[in-house]
């Protein structure tokens, strides 16, 4: 069976190559297809189109017409941004950069024929494919919860209506109620994100519902910027937030979305809002394309962001195992620039400079109290390795924290312009 299929594909590939030989030598432009229009995919599309000046045919496949950024979606929950301000259209990528933006779901990748198929029934042939689908959830990682319960217990870990739902639930909480978060195990999208979200929820509750409580069920022993968050919570929201780590049963839990109960190590709590952030893996299309490894994420070549499974495919952002780099929009944007340069070099012969990667994550703890962590990275043969880094310090003065927050606003304007033109 396998043999038959292979020999059949071999024949059709040879035929296809023979038939397409003339147009390839002629004027046909090399084709790049990009699956996913987030911080990785949109940036890659824009850079390839911009820097190849029309020499490469770029198709971007993204289901949503308005992309809501996960970064800053916590600030929307906290009331620091309005919803429209985190939404972005693909209009400029189409009109100013000539990118073929297709609003459809990619449902299959045939690596033999180098074709992507979509739910809408279309097929897109590629010379180089970029896969940037973000994350999906690991089924069964939170006992009692599955995706059908997302309206009772929202994850809000992909921005959009889920974010709006969680904000509405927080604002409608009964006086003195309990907000519970099931925090995810490593590795997951946006390491400081759950704790920034807790800060934003606490900010809202302090203003509207000061006797309410926040409970974090956390399977991890420690988390990103922990000292900074814990200092901030003590300072701004004293007595409001309780975190149950693995020592106290944070790994042994289940939820019941019908009754709004959370069972933590045998002790059952009834809660008012429950934000379930499940364990994560690469977006489904990466798995379907056979690009994922044992842990559900995609191994990549550190110097190029090529898939370890297929040299004609690059994988970006949260879907990858990128060595020391965290899963963040900033990282995905950084991956995209390296991949875009490599793709152009392969297809048009432009120069491929050595890869440099970087990341910075800003988080807001309370009004004008911003913190950040960041690092620079370089590829080694095995992995993307950290070169240098920094993190905000506990006890910093208010002026510096305010500047850090204002800097994050500048970064948001910068990266969204870098993604969407």
């Amino acid at each position: 069976m396998t043999l038959n299929r292979r020999s059949f594909l071999g024949t059709s590939f040879a035929l296809g190559a023979a038939l397409s030989a003339t147009p390839l030598i002629g004027q046909a432009r090399p084709r790049v297809v990009i699956v996913g229009g987030g911080a990785g995919g949109a940036t890659a599309a824009r850079y390839i189109a911009k820097d190849s000046q029309g020499a490469i045919d770029v198709t971007l496949i993204e289901p949503t017409r308005t992309y809501y950024t996960c970064f800053f979606s916590n600030l929307y929950i906290g009331g620091f941004r309005d919803f429209a301000s985190i939404g972005h259209s693909y209009g400029k990528l189409a009109s100013d950069y000539g990118i073929n933006v297709v609003h459809d779901w990619a449902v299959g990748v045939d690596r033999d024929t180098k074709t992507v198929t979509t739910a809408g029934g279309h097929a897109f042939a590629y010379d180089k494919l970029i896969v940037a689908p973000g994350i999906d959830f690991v089924e069964g990682s939170v006992p009692g919860w599955d995706i059908s319960a997302q309206n009772r217990m929202p994850h809000s870990w992909k921005a959009g209506s889920q974010t709006q739902l969680l904000k509405a639930q927080v604002e409608a909480m009964r006086e003195g109620g309990v907000f519970c978060m099931i925090a995810p195990p490593d590795p997951f999208r946006c390491p400081p994100g759950p704790y920034e979200r807790i800060s934003m929820v606490a900010h809202v509750l302090r203003e509207r519902n000061p006797t309410a409580k926040i409970l974090i069920v956390d399977p991890k022993a420690s988390f990103s910027k922990q000292a900074l968050f814990e200092e901030g919570w003590q300072k701004h929201y004293p007595g409001m937030i309780q975190r149950i780590g693995p020592d106290f049963g944070g790994t042994n839990f289940s939820v019941n979305p019908e009754t709004m109960e959370v069972d933590i190590d045998g002790q059952v709590e009834t809660v008012d809002v429950c934000n379930v952030i499940p364990a994560q893996k690469a977006g489904r299309i990466a798995e379907l394309a056979g690009l994922t490894g044992d842990n559900g994420y995609c191994p990549i070549v550190p110097a190029t962001m090529q898939s370890r499974m297929d040299e004609d495919i690059h994988v970006l952002g949260d879907a990858t195992i990128a060595g020391d780099m965290p899963k963040s929009g900033f990282s995905a944007n950084s991956h995209a620039k390296v991949a875009a340069m490599q793709v152009r070099a392969a297809l048009t012969g432009s120069t491929a400079f050595p890869a440099k990667y970087s990341n910075t994550c800003w988080s807001l703890i309370d009004t004008d109290d911003g913190v950040k962590v960041g690092a620079s990275y370089a590829p080694t043969d095995e992995m993307i390795a950290k070169v240098d880094g920094f993190v905000s310090q506990t006890g910093e003065d208010a002026d510096l924290r305010k500047l850090t927050y204002e800097e994050s606003l500048g970064w948001y304007a910068g990266i969204t312009a870098d993604m969407f033109g």
């Binding site: 120069t351 910075t360 920094f390 994050s408 970064w411 304007a413 870098d418």
Partner: protein, 238 residues
């Protein structure tokens, strides 16, 4: 008859206004204290005899000047538009601009958060006022050399940057800095004189300038890479 009366009244009123303005001009603020505040400006702006275009335009004769009027200076589109629309620098408009540059000119390249204290603004304006239309009374220019300037050899400063390489490297900068040069919370880095750009990056690399993100970014750039970035960002059109 009616028109003549009205005109007379208007003239009388404007006469009052002028007298009032003169009184204010004489007591704008303390120019000596303003000279101390000027250190916030002198990294980018020159003033006094021989003042030239730096990262920002020279500020001799700023009072009464149309916004965006120095012909060789690459202003932001916003500033050029404001000038075309009639923005002229007076005590009032400069005061508003210095208080919060981006409120008055949203896309300005001027990377300055503003002076909140009205007294400090008045002192700075008094200092600036001394360099406008009182030519007999211009003091020596404030020293513009700053303590955070790095030690660099002439060879390093003389490196001619590769613009194409700079364009690639620039993609790491534009995650935060706006390519169009506007300052939306993170400073503008486009259209700086190349020497100033190189000096600033080496100052971060040598950790003379304090910002941790920039120290990290500059820390791994070679002399050639810094020159390439300076060449690229210096070559953009506003």
């Amino acid at each position: 008859m009616r028109e003549a009366l009205f005109l007379g009244l208007a003239l009388a009123l404007s006469g009052v206004g002028q007298a009032h303005a003169q009184t204010r001009a004489e007591a704008i603020g303390d120019a000596e204290r303003g000279a101390e505040i000027w250190v916030f400006c002198s990294g980018c702006h020159q003033i006094g005899p021989g003042a030239e275009i730096g990262i920002g335009p020279p500020l001799n004769g700023i009072f009464g000047r149309r916004a965006g009027a120095i012909s060789d200076f690459p202003y932001s589109r916003s500033m050029t538009r404001m000038g075309r629309d009639g923005l002229t620098w007076t005590l009032e408009t400069l005061d508003a601009y210095i208080e919060n540059p981006r409120v008055l000119v949203s896309g300005t390249r001027m990377s300055f958060d503003g002076l909140e204290d009205p007294g400090e603004r008045a002192d700075l304006l008094a200092f600036l006022r001394d360099f406008s239309d009182r030519p007999s009374n211009i003091p020596e220019a404030a020293p513009t050399a700053r303590a955070d300037l790095p030690m660099l050899s002439e060879e390093t400063l003389a490196i001619v940057g590769d613009t194409a390489y700079g364009e690639y490297l620039s993609s790491e900068c534009t995650t935060c800095h706006q390519r169009d040069g506007s300052d939306q919370g993170i400073p503008s880095i486009v259209l700086w004189p190349q020497r100033d750009f190189v000096l600033a990056m080496h100052a971060y690399k040598q950790k003379l300038r304090p910002h941790p993100v920039m120290q990290m970014m500059a820390g791994r750039l070679s002399d050639e890479e810094i020159a390439a970035l300076a060449a690229y960002f210096g070559s953009l059109t506003p």
